[in-house]
Symmetry: C2
Subunit: 486 residues, 2 copies
């Protein structure tokens, strides 16, 4: 692809995260902006990351008995209106199709903001008996929600790629177990594949998914102290099965309304991973989602390739590829080795191997880690073994650093002044007592910009003493985590 | 999923193909109808077939240097209008978004009918020098074209899943080579994976893709004698690069407009495969795209499972699975073995293995082929080997049968009366002389219902003698193939 005039990343991540982020996305050929506001284009390098994430999630979902299927992109207005709270929550951001060619449609069609309405209208025909349950389906598609305010690639777009899971159960306990199973699965994938640590818990009533009984969430923290919702898993109870008439004949020979869950993650994971791990040189990709895990750069002066550098490089690349490692051999003639080093550092490839005549003679190779920029000399005959170890070390280092950053950004506020100050100082996650009243929650949001990101599943240790709502002073047991968020 | 009341396929394929087709789709849990006209839902069994096809094509495209990427679903009206012939061709079937929430949009947004317009508006920024070329991109997505007339699942829908490839080259020869490479790739995949033989050639000027210089096509034939377009690969020449300003600096240091191709196949391949291979019992799936290639049915009377039938079946299933074969072990307790036989025959699983106490004792297994319904006793210790062979035999048999059916449906008409009669008799493909004049083409279409499906790349043998246009009688060298089509 066309080489930009201003080639390197000129913004500093610590000084201007937003500018740094845009530059990284554009200058590493991950994305481009689409012609309509809020829509982005994934270039091959960006889409490969999504393909890697998709593969990881898809395998785990299939292994746990979920099946993929496909739903239409459009939803008739009447269906979307069927669950009122759900509709009112999405109404303002729904794109509407009103015409086909020059003809007006009799009924407006919504572009899928999420598929509950259309999926459940079908489920009512698909489910007849308890023997048909559980029904555990997953859908890979794009969702469209008009974003009129500030948009940010991967983080907030008018169209985003995601997966949405929808399950139907005979009882609430099984639905609840599914909600938690999926949340734990997401947490594992975020940590073990993307190097992203999170906090987990419930959303408040105000912040939960519209139409859900309860929403569980995974929340990450960005380098600017803003929180980001990375995955949600909802217990829908019977809120949808009643209006959509999803009923089953139980083993008791009586009809019952089913119990449901829905859950999803989006390409937002890519955005979070970039913001968390990247540095002033550009991307730092976690090895397991990196389109290229190892890049080989042969070093030679023009006209001096007689030292067997290229043929050996091809051999090393093949050896790594046979071991299942994603390798790229950079044999572009028009660039110097030094230029290539910068290029692959910018593109965040976890390991770079430099291969020159000296290394060939000695039976050695030079490996450079992207995360630490440390060089290491390895033996050619332990290539696959050491590269595999190093990829793991890179992953673990990224996860550990992100985990330390997360820990540093969790504090506790004993009173409202403290809370306000901490939020003002962009500390990150601030836990504080809250009476459970939505009025207090709204006031805190209005006055500080922070909302309740989650209510931890287990009560925080810091709350052994009597706790009061930081806003109204009422006694309470609830200690949610507040933060400003993306 | 819910068991239908009327369980079996009641229509006969030979008597009422259309009814047979709908029943098969619905009663094998491949699809359901969506709530909006022309939109279908893929249930897991149907979507698995698409996943298998996608995997096959995706691997081949990546192996030949194509990269995946993602484009927005919506296209601003002004962009779609940029290539006039293209716009006028799609205009009548474009879905338009005119509102977001309660607000009218300033500019209408089209739902992607195909991505030329949006892709090429981006390519003009991505391509700068001949070093950026060729650019070979592929997109997996859904396209939306309002079908107001008759719709048929997989064959003609208002939304369909497909892949669309878009490439950019420095010269016409390279673009032409790409067009043919892709058409040959599609032909190979159709034959070797879906068991579908085709005719190939050019579309006439009237039938080519709107905006293309030339369209090449693969045309299949259905059991009712109707042709179906299964894949197209277009040489776009510079028809789009000029209005979209896709220019590159050549090695001659001068600016040139680029040369382009686009090509695609859709889930129509699933529909064609079903119509071609299925029989009165239901689906007959080609092994390479079958979600389940082998189903194991343990045979035992209730309470008499002491003969080790189930544990042995689990072992056999594992052995096949380790060999990379897609296996399902049917241990549903509520159904008899006989019921299961019918069920899996209906669902088109290529091989069924019956495992009873007798077989266990003798070290044998009974294998039943879905295509021929022939039974064969095999030795347990040659399970993987024989199953692998049988899957190949099933594939080859399906392809051969389809190929014979295709050959039987190709005839030649020496004059217009013959052509009319043959089309009337639903013979299938009818080759006939044509002067090349669009007026004759249109008249033939109006009077017979048949259009030019393709103009073969190589001139037909039957045309050794002088040939005349069957309509106007002018001498001609061109002998296209006519047919009524889906």
């Amino acid at each position: 692809m066309k080489i930009q005039k201003e080639y390197g990343i000129t913004a500093k991540k610590d000084e201007n995260l937003s500018d740094w982020y845009s530059q990284v996305l554009l200058k590493t050929d991950l994305i481009d902006y689409g012609p309509s506001k809020g829509f982005i284009v994934l270039k091959p390098y960006g889409y490969s990351i999504w393909e890697a994430i998709k593969q990881i999630i898809d395998t785990r979902l299939k292994d746990s008995g979920h099946q993929n299927a496909y739903l239409p992109t459009v939803i008739p207005e009447a269906l979307l209106r069927k669950e009122e709270e759900h509709f009112s929550g999405f109404n303002s951001e729904v794109f509407w199709i009103t015409k086909a060619g020059d003809n007006s449609l009799q009924e407006k069609l919504a572009l899928r903001p999420t598929s509950e309405a259309i999926a459940y209208s079908l489920f009512s025909n698909w489910v007849g008996s308890y023997k048909d349950l559980p029904l555990k389906l997953n859908f890979w598609n794009s969702a469209m929600r008009a974003e009129i305010k500030s948009t940010k690639p991967f983080i907030r777009n008018s169209e985003f790629l995601w997966q949405e899971g929808h399950t139907v159960h005979t009882n609430n306990e099984e639905a609840e177990a599914e909600v938690r199973f999926i949340l734990d699965l997401y947490e594992m994938i975020l940590a073990d594949y993307l190097g992203i640590p999170v906090l987990k818990g419930f959303k408040s009533r105000k912040e939960k998914f519209v139409g859900a009984v309860a929403t569980t969430t995974l929340e990450g923290i960005m380098p600017d102290g803003k929180a980001i919702q990375l995955a949600t898993s909802h217990n829908l109870g019977q809120n949808f099965s009643v209006p959509f008439e999803i009923k089953f004949l139980g083993s008791d020979n009586r009809e019952h309304f089913a119990w449901q869950t829905s859950w999803g993650v989006s390409w937002r994971l890519i955005g979070a991973s970039i913001m968390i791990h990247g540095d002033d040189r550009g991307l730092v990709l976690p090895p397991k989602i990196a389109p290229i895990q190892v890049v080989l750069v042969p070093i030679y002066k023009r006209g001096q390739t007689d030292q067997n550098v290229i043929p050996s490089s091809v051999e090393f690349a093949s050896e790594l590829r046979r071991a299942g490692i994603r390798v790229h051999l950079d044999i572009r003639d028009e660039f110097t080795a030094g230029w290539k080093y910068n290029d692959w550092e910018k593109k965040g490839v976890p390991l770079r191997i430099n291969i020159g005549p000296k290394e060939i003679l000695k039976g050695e190779l030079e490996v450079v880690r992207r995360d630490t920029l440390q060089k290491e000399t390895i033996l050619q005959n332990s290539l696959v073994e050491r590269v595999t170890e190093l990829l793991d070390l890179v992953h673990n280092n990224l996860l550990n650093k992100a985990d330390q950053a997360l820990r540093r950004r969790i504090t506790h506020a004993s009173n409202y002044d403290q809370l306000k100050e901490m939020i003002q100082d962009q500390v990150g996650f601030v836990s504080a007592g809250w009476c459970g009243d939505e009025d207090c929650e709204i006031s805190i949001k209005e006055e500080t910009g922070a909302d309740i990101r989650l209510i931890p599943f287990e009560r925080n240790n810091k709350s052994d003493s009597t706790t009061r709502c930081v806003y109204c002073g009422k006694n309470t047991e609830s200690i949610p985590v507040f933060a400003r968020a993306y």
